[in-house]
Amino acid sequence: MHELSMAEGILKAVIEKSEDNNATEVIEVVVEIGKMVLINPEQIKFLLDVLSEDTIVKGAIFTIEEIPIEIDCPECEYKGKIDDDELDHYAPVVNCPKCGNKRLHITNGKDCIVKNIIIEQED
């Protein structure tokens, strides 16, 4: 599944940033995953654990923050959040909460972002 390539992308970004900042250890990695992205946060965490084994990131805590979906409806011009609590993460069908339209511009919730890292540095 494509959790593997996503995890590889996340890890690459974390390692680069850690090296740029002379990290001796990576303590925590915070990743934002939009609810519209078809990846499973638990699988991502598992893969990050496995892939980071022989790297500076080994042993880090991976915190996944799920990002809610926001839309821009071209029909009724509603802009903003939708109720995504009941949404099926693996097949999210999004409707406009105001008019029910399904052809929407998704303005948030489609990204996967390595937000920040907490590292230990040599002085």
Binding site: M1, H2, D111, V114, K115, E120
Partner: protein
């Protein structure tokens, strides 16, 4: 002494793909090449459809054959005497822009009008990865079951054309092709949906017309 620091990264994994996809489309545009990403279920008829398009469409076509092991489909396309590049994804379930950009140099863009990209047979993962193509065609067949569309809403919402293939065997496999059409319509009201039986070339003309029509837009 050691100190703890919080470092802002803000590295967007999806944007990295989008950026490359944009670069691919610019490169295609500069050569006046129209590109189509064919996604669909395993065994739905993606390769057959592309082969039929190679035979019946006007214009020079090249194909990127993406698959977990691509040599089988690539071999089928090569028999038509057109430029073909096989693209193995190995463990991966989809093509991404990075992989496509890698092989773009092997395609004679100046000699072709169309670049067809056959994605890995999968109705889930390709949703998240734009390849820089101008059009996405989603191919399914009745033999996957007539609940296939409603089970994979996002891929159908991302489609510019939906092909429902093997309708000639719908009764034999107990599937209702019209239900699949209705489901796709409900998810993507403006999308063009064509029922085909590609083994008998049924619906092929309509598919060609739909691709040409989309190109003009």
């Amino acid at each position: 002494m050691h100190k703890i620091a919080e470092i802002e990264v803000q590295h967007n994994i999806m944007k990295a793909n989008e950026k490359i996809a944009k670069r691919i489309q610019e490169s295609l545009n500069s050569h006046n090449v129209f590109s189509v990403d064919f996604v669909g279920a395993i065994g739905s008829g993606k390769t057959t459809l592309i082969e039929e398009l190679i035979t019946d469409m006007n214009g020079n076509i090249a194909v990127i054959a993406g698959d977990v092991i691509s040599k089988f489909d690539a071999g089928r396309f090569k028999k038509h005497g057109i430029p073909v590049v096989g693209l193995n994804t190995g463990k991966e379930c989809h093509l991404d822009a990075h992989l496509v950009e890698h092989v773009l140099d092997d395609i004679p863009l100046k000699d072709i009008d169309y670049l067809f990209i056959e994605n890995v047979g999968n109705l889930i993962c390709p949703v998240d990865f734009d390849l820089g193509a101008h059009m996405r065609v989603v191919v399914i067949s009745v033999s996957e079951g007539d609940d296939t569309v409603e089970k994979h809403p996002l891929i159908f919402q991302s489609a510019d054309l939906v092909v429902i293939n093997k309708v000639d065997i719908a009764d034999a496999v107990g599937a209702d092709a019209d239900k699949m059409v209705a489901d796709a319509k409900a998810l993507n009201p403006n999308v063009k949906i064509i029922k085909t039986s590609l083994k008998h070339k049924e619906g092929l003309k309509e598919v060609i017309f739909a691709i040409e029509e989309f190109l003009i837009q």
